[in-house]
Symmetry: C2
Subunit: 352 residues, 2 copies
DNA sequence: TCGATTTTTGTAATCGATTACATCTTGTCA
DNA sequence: TGACAAGATGTAATCGATTACAAAAATCGA
């Protein structure tokens, strides 16, 4: 019975409120959208009717008429990765402040899921799109860009596209990581990669190589293990690492998860960190400080990344003329924690 | 310039396609929605026009006319917790299969964020709502239930509400956890709680007490530390734990994160796990197997939980008559890993 | 108090689809 | 071949808001 009451409440339309208040629908609409355009007396009248009836405007109708949905799509590679959870928090907070909503589209690491979001975007569901997967989603012969909706790339810039991006200093960070390891005396380095071809991966690997080189290491001093940004990739790299004769003593994971997977695997094999091997990650996720020892890593300003991206898309959605290829690059912070230390060679000589 | 071409593509309406194909808008609509109702020749004609023009129906207009959005809202306490990420994957997969979309509404552990989702729901944005926060969101004097939209609770049942729920056997699981610890010889137990008042927390704590009692322990053998389902709660509990004179030897965290926080903190304090203290968690998140030692925990079938919840809401949205208070309870699995072992007392006698 | 100006309100068109109903084809069978 | 049913298509109403434009009311100065 209370059930049916709710139902009835749900059916209130603007016309009902207008009748109740003795005004036209136009006036009701104005009271709700532009109160300053209506006489205080009328305003009170209408607001009272709104309250009495429990009216809430139908946003679908409004969206149709105004041709905007006040909603932004955020495409992420996956939801399980806490990196994106943090970025999304920043986006959400920022967009909410401006009255926008956010729809999260997870690709679940599966490229054919792009189709769905292409369709939704093409069907005018969103006023803007935030891309965190480093590419413009497509479906068959159709691309999301056909929708003519503003887009902004976060986390990973999109090559060959005139799209503003908000990213971190991946290259510089990885360079610093390599230098950090070499500075500790490590002469043979390992690199656990992200997915080959991925923009971020490319940047980080290049940076790492550059850093090693700048620190005086030859290219062959760096071993690269093919991986992805997940725990399992680190474990796989460890398997390969363990059966090397001349093992690297400093290993850098292109993500915290892969570094943690590596860490776990080599410790299970009896190696000590950082005494035998130093390990570094990239991301600065919360987990990273709960492994043992706490993971040395490059911390991304994830929340701020999301905020900045959101501000960028808000700008794109408001003003028409845009540079449309601006790029913001936020700095990283090297968190020197427990998994990195002096190289065994250096350490023993020190101890002697 | 290509820009303007996209723009123009975007403006195609059903009337344009109809003109191009030389039929009425009704026919175009039917070709797209109910192809069997249209002659093959006409069908081909229209499809060709659709392809040539790059037409995609405007879903906002469609939603208005059909009075459904084919979208479900999923309210989660927060996004950072991987538990919800996994549940959401299950939901997403299942809903997508049925042509539904999902909007994720994160409360970010902040109750006043409920208002936003209440408004969206009241404004007819969703055909159904999945609640994972154990309560029906409200905003001022308005409740989400007024929208008259089907709702299903996942993860945490909602007390005193006629809402179907899909949960796990929290109570039975925690009971088993307590028995497991006592079975290993632990006579003093610790319990790191979730937020007091939370449905899940209540279930788990009751279960834990019951288990301890059934195993022959008096109530006072169980110490409860007030906490939340996050790392920091475990660390706080550890601080309290460390300054007890007669410490528990078996500690159960109501979440993996709190257990991991505890683990980290007591190991930093020099205690050995499981030799000095056994630790258990609840959730079975991926990270739990990467700490050292791997965390013994109760694994939730998170993905399946999401799937089941999605199926339930799909049912609620299709058929009108519903039991509306059915409850599905999925079983947990005790993963016996490295953080639990014989109690010190028991172990030393064994070794002797 | 009157007319001009400004504010407030109302009427009706509009957003872009779906769909009830009417109309026109096509097909079947005597 | 013609009558009738079944099938395909078209016309126009509809979903529920916003808003351009017109009309009415309030304000103001002389």
């Amino acid at each position: 019975m209370s059930r049916s009451r709710w139902r009835s409440v749900k059916e209130i339309r603007i016309a009902d409120v207008a009748r109740l208040a003795g005004v036209s629908t136009a006036t009701v609409s104005r009271v709700l959208a532009t109160p300053e355009q209506v006489r205080p007396k009328t305003h009170a009248l209408v607001m009272d009717a709104v309250r009495r009836s429990g009216y809430t405007p139908n946003s679908v109708a409004r969206n149709l008429r105004t041709r905007r949905t006040m909603t932004v799509l955020a495409v992420v590679p996956n939801l399980a990765n806490p990196v994106f959870a943090q970025i999304l928090r920043g986006i959400d907070d920022e967009l909410t402040q401006s009255g926008y909503g956010i729809v999260i589209g997870s690709l679940d690491n599966c490229q054919d899921r792009e189709a769905r979001y292409v369709d939704l975007t093409l069907s005018q569901q969103f006023d803007g799109v935030l891309l965190m997967n480093g590419r413009i989603p497509e479906s068959g012969r159709r691309s999301m860009s056909e929708a003519g909706v503003p887009m902004v790339a976060i986390c990973a810039a999109i090559p060959n596209a005139q799209i503003p991006s908000v990213v971190v200093q991946d290259r510089e960070g990885s360079r610093e990581a390599a230098r950090h390891l070499v500075g500790l005396g490590h002469r043979r380095l390992g690199y656990i990669s992200g997915p080959t071809g991925n923009v971020i991966e490319t940047e980080r690997f290049q940076g790492f190589l550059e850093g090693a080189q700048q620190a005086g290491l030859p290219r062959r001093a760096v071993t690269r293990w093919e991986g992805r940004f997940v725990f399992a990739a680190g474990e796989a790299a460890a398997a390969s690492f363990l059966q090397m004769k001349n093992r690297p003593t400093g290993v850098f994971g292109a993500s915290d998860e892969s570094a943690i997977g590596f860490l776990k695997a080599i410790r299970s094999a009896g190696l000590r960190v950082p005494n035998d091997v130093s390990v570094m990650g990239f991301d600065g996720i919360e987990f990273a400080s709960y492994v043992e020892p706490a993971l040395t890593t490059l911390q991304q300003p994830l929340y701020q990344l999301g905020q900045a991206g959101a501000r960028e898309i808000l700008r794109s959605m408001s003003s028409k003329p845009r540079p449309s290829d601006s790029q913001v690059r936020l700095p990283l912070q090297l968190l020197h924690r427990g998994t990195t230390g002096l190289a065994p060679s250096r350490r023993s000589s020190t101890l002697k």
